[in-house]
């Protein structure tokens, strides 16, 4: 279905593709900004494009919106090829990073702007504007001058203005990046709720991995004009296909490893600090090959065992030494040197009443499970 190896991951409701990207290419002069992107975006899903600055997220979004011409490939929306269809005739609407609120118009006029071309009675349009404003929590703000609004309110006006046309797809280019942290967190959950309520496909561009994880049904991680992985937030976090993806999403520790063999859906490994183990083939989302490799695990998948803690019923034990500890209130972050490994790994632990926070230099034991490991060949 797509070019990315793990893209065929099952999702609860397999809906039909609304947007089909086929070998999408974009050149800016000599610069190759989008490199044959092929993927489907499903009807009614909250889809995020996540990646570092300059990877081409905005470019891809603008190609879908019709603001940029494709240099190659095909773009289909709802089964119709969009070639030659300009932005004002596409069933997409955009929320801009700067919100692009028309400063010389009132809130009402802004929200109702897209209705200008519709043949409907004045009352009907006014009612739709009022509904749209209510939907984004701006009831009663209609008569205000648009430039006299706060950042969060502008954001809502921009949303209402785009949604009033009931587009098939709503495109959002870093819509929350101009808001302060608190407002951003509030808008994240509101946006998610709004998307479920209206059922419209949302495509969100963000470089904030947390934001993408919180809001999306599926996330496409992009690097240098290609989609490196397209998956659900959970799979993306638990089973990143490459070290690059793993490093971009949350924190992942890496240990040098050697693949010694594969048989019967199992992969035999020799991992520094952890010894010889076998893991499920599923734990290697990328391609498998014998030889040098590395194994990754998330900081919260290992547990520091304290004096008097009961022995874990599952998993294995490794030894190490605390090199640094950062106390964070609810959490403690340990830098631990595993026996036989040069580079310290990070382990995070929830702080529990009565449990001490171990200081530097303390010898510790660590409980770990093979199921938490990911293999990168």
């Amino acid at each position: 279905m797509t070019s990315s190896p793990a893209a065929a991951a099952p999702t609860p409701k397999a809906k039909r593709p609304l947007i089909e990207l086929r070998d999408i290419e974009k050149y800016y002069g000599d610069y190759y900004a989008l490199r044959k992107i092929t993927t489907d975006i499903r009807e009614g899903e909250f889809f995020s494009l996540l990646g570092p600055s300059g990877c081409g997220k905005t470019t891809l979004l603008r190609c879908i919106a019709g603001f940029e011409e494709l240099s190659g490939g095909n773009l289909l929306i709802d089964g119709k090829d969009m070639e030659g269809v300009s932005a004002n005739h596409r069933p997409t609407n955009m929320v801009f990073q700067s919100y692009a609120i028309f400063p010389h118009l009132t809130v009402e006029e802004n929200v109702g702007f897209g209705l200008r071309r519709e043949k409907a009675t004045k009352e009907d349009k006014a009612r739709r504007v009022a509904e749209a404003l209510e939907m984004v929590g701006l009831k009663g703000y209609g008569k205000r001058a648009a430039h006299a609004l706060s950042g969060g309110q502008r954001q809502r006006v921009a949303l209402a203005r785009a949604l009033i046309l009931k587009p098939k797809v709503l495109l959002l280019d870093e819509p929350l990046s101009a808001l302060d942290k608190k407002m951003r967190e509030q808008m994240q959950s509101e946006l998610r709720k709004l998307q479920r309520q209206v059922g419209i496909t949302f495509i969100l561009v963000t470089h904030d991995q947390e934001e993408a994880l919180i809001m999306s049904d599926r996330i496409a991680v992009m690097f240098d004009g290609v989609i490196a992985q397209l998956d659900s937030p959970e799979r993306l976090y638990r089973r990143p296909v490459s070290r690059k993806v793993a490093e971009f999403i949350g924190i992942m520790n890496f240990l040098p490893a050697t693949v010694t063999g594969t048989e019967g859906g199992q992969i035999q490994l020799e991992v520094a600090g952890l010894g010889a183990i076998a893991i499920d083939a599923e734990q290697c989302p990328g391609a498998v090959k014998t030889g040098e490799a590395s194994v990754g695990f998330r900081p919260e998948t290992m547990t520091v065992l304290f004096e008097g803690d009961p022995e874990p019923t599952r998993g294995k034990i490794a030894g190490g030494e605390v090199e640094e500890v950062v106390y964070f209130g609810d959490m403690s972050y340990y830098d631990v040197k595993l026996d036989g490994v040069e580079k310290p790994v990070q382990i995070s632990m929830r702080n529990v009443v009565g449990r001490p926070v171990l200081g530097r230099g303390a010898r510790i034991r660590i409980a770990w499970e093979a199921g938490a490991l990911v293999l990168f060949c």
Partner: protein, 271 residues
Amino acid sequence: MKSKGNGFRIYAILYLGFLYAPIVLLPIFAFNNSTVISFPLVGFTTQWFQALVTDTSLLLAVRHSLIVAVSVSILATTFGVFAARATTRYKFPGKGGLMGMIMLPLVLPDIIIAVALLGAITNILGMKLSLITVIFGHTLIATPFTIAILNSAFQSLDRSLEEAAYDLGETKISTFRLIILPLVMPGIISAMLIAFTISLDEYIIAAFLSGTEATLPVYIFSQFRFPQRVPVIMALGTILVCLSIVLLTVAEYFRRRGIAKAGGKSSGGFL
């Protein structure tokens, strides 16, 4: 601290006095009952103003000047809008050089332009000198100013405003009318005003190109040969000063209203 402020105040008063004293003389002598421009004043009269409205050749010159100035303000501003739009939105080869060429009349001495235009119009194009040739010359020198003003107006426009309107179903043309034009309107008014003023008081090019259809400055200059005409010119000057003050005030009012509507803060401007 106090003395420092006083220094500035004295400077400002001297400066303004130097600037406006000659202009204050205009209304004084316009109402003075004497053809000689000197103190002491002789008596109050409105005869110079009466002479003004009955002087048909002067009224004709006023009409010529207004025709030229209005045409120039429209033409130069229209060209300015196109040029500013092109330079702020589109990239094309040789853009820098082209802009430089358009802006050149800004620094070229008017007399050079006048001579060159005269040669080109009469000898090469074979056109007769008339108000049209003056409009042509004035548009040439006013356009760089309108471009400069409109460039900054267009540059401060957020591009996504346009894209948003387009995205919401408008065409390129209706987007221009509904979004861009209202937002750059203060700039357009400023540009028209500047072009109007430049044309209205321009002498050299008008003198070369107007032929028999003298504009106001050309007419005024020709009248200074006759001393008895000077008080009438003073009366005319008084009216023109009042007119400019009204014009500037109106333009500034629109400019500020435009900025307030767009949610910006006033930053200088002409006044």
